[in-house]
């Protein structure tokens, strides 16, 4: 897949002297959903704002759909729709007026049928004549998405699109985003709900303290870093681990009722068969067993912890 966005060695030092990005390199593939994860203040919004032309990079360059985003800013920006992190809207405007304004700002001729379609998709159609200040927070968030889509962009940036949106609407939003991906729109999103990235993203990037520390296909990442746990519910509680099981790195729960065995999904031998044999020899019986997979969240927390050390 060709890269639709190339970020090359971008650094940003704000006027305050704070360096928010250190030599970031990143390629976004056409048509993918890319999730950019990172703790508060990592530089996600800074990076997005540089790509979209809102913040000037101190160093490095960005090309969007083959156009440099400074020297050919018109072509570069025309391709992008941006949903900002903050709920920044003209409170006294109507929903209908503001979405049409966005379309005009990007130089597109009026197209009421298209604007109607987006508003319906985002469940805002019955609010079209309302003033923005009368909308709820979740509606405002969806209105920002409608504004970003108003000029039919090929690339959509969503800076925490689901912050403050309830569960049902969040599902609805995922559907809208999946629908856009199906239409061929490239989507870059940041989120603090990691299960959201796990569910939707094709690739995941992790940014820490202004540097990209990891970019990986999500399934690959899960496979590589993923660990599985085998949990055994014991028929009778144990006080200590029987001798002969030491080699297996088992963890006995404090109440003595569960044994947990952690294994790597990427290794050829998981050691499960040997473990079960040894358990039988030791006379340990169990009433139930289950496996648990580590989530992207665990992986992410792990990475952040490691970086902090």
């Amino acid at each position: 897949m060709p890269a639709i966005i190339s970020v090359i060695d971008v650094s940003k030092t704000y006027a305050s002297g704070f360096t928010a990005l250190h030599g970031v390199d990143l390629d976004i593939n056409e048509g993918e959903i890319f999730a950019l994860l990172g703790p508060n203040g990592a530089g996600k919004t800074t990076l997005i704002n540089i790509i979209c032309g809102i913040v000037n990079a101190s160093f490095g360059s960005v090309s969007v759909a083959g156009h440099d985003n400074v020297t050919e800013f018109r072509a570069a920006r025309s391709a992008i729709g941006l949903v900002p992190q903050e709920l920044t809207l003209d409170m006294f405007e109507s929903v209908w007026a503001t979405v049409n304004f966005s379309r005009g700002l990007f130089g597109k001729p009026k197209n009421h049928a298209y604007v109607e379609k987006i508003l319906r998709q985002l469940s805002l159609w019955d609010k079209k004549d309302s003033r923005i200040l009368s909308l709820s927070g979740g509606m405002k968030r969806r209105l920002l998405i409608a504004k970003a889509l108003a000029h039919e962009p090929r690339i959509l940036f969503l800076d925490e699109p689901t912050a403050g949106v309830d569960v049902e609407l969040r599902r609805g939003m995922w559907d809208v985003i999946s629908g856009m991906r199906a239409d061929g729109v490239t989507i870059i999103l940041t989120t603090h709900y990691i299960e959201e990235a796990e569910l939707m993203a094709d690739r995941v990037g992790v940014i820490l303290k202004g540097g990209i520390v990891l970019v990986e296909r999500k399934d690959e990442l899960m496979r590589k870093l993923g660990r599985k746990m085998l949990v055994l519910d014991l028929q009778s509680p144990l006080v200590t681990l029987p001798a002969g099981l030491d080699a297996h790195n088992l963890v006995l729960s404090p109440d003595g009722k569960h044994l947990t065995y952690t294994f790597d999904t990427k290794s050829e031998r998981t050691g499960i068969t040997a473990l079960l044999n040894d358990l039988r020899s030791a006379g340990v019986t169990f009433s139930d067993l289950r496996t648990e997979e580590s989530s992207l969240e665990d992986i992410f927390v792990d990475l952040v912890k490691k970086a902090a050390q």
Partner: protein, 253 residues
Amino acid sequence: MNIVAVRALFAFEMSRWRRTLMQSVISPVLSTSLYFVVFGAAIGSRISEVEGVSYGAFIVPGLIMMLILAQSTANASFGIYFPRFTGTIYEILSAPVSALEIVLGYVGAAATKSVILGLIVLVTASFFVEVRIAHPFWMLAFLLLTSIAFSLLGFIVGLWAEGFEKLQLIPLLIITPLSFLGGTFYSLNMLPPFWKTVTLLNPIVYLISGFRWSFYEISDVSVGVSLLMTLVFLLVCLAVIWLIFKTGYRLKA
């Protein structure tokens, strides 16, 4: 050139104006009318004529000019400051619009409002006094150029301001005093020589003088000089804005 975007920005600004039609039209018209009642009646009864023009009619061009200066700066500065303040400027910065197009949209709208207000006040004035316009073309030209020039100035103020107080500062400290001393209410020939010289340092004198000439063919300074001053002011503002955008000052972090 992204004409559609210029139109969108222009229409956005004009609709903001329409929403607050009460403040934006009624109040300047009312306050200007009050000037007529107070100054026209109080002073007009003592000074019946200035250089052959009745006092009430004499002050009309100056009053319109004062209104234009105040409204252009206020409108244009607020227009660009507000999106910076609320954060909605993100959309304009991320859109495929150039600095020139942004200026055209905002300054064009502010200047249009000023011209409309000026014409409304002119009509209002004609109910109170007999207004004669000797050179309609030049009258409109001065009206338009001054509106554009001071809308550009307002735009600069709106880019520079970091708070609502600063937004008021320039109009309050510079434009209001200078326009009151700009010869709206008197002819420079009525001043002692020293004060006449001092007054000539006030750029607004040239604007009002030229504008008044287009009405009654009387002026404190020659019309050519007035026109030149207006154009110079306009160019200086344009250059400053060009510089601001070139450096991204205050708009982009």
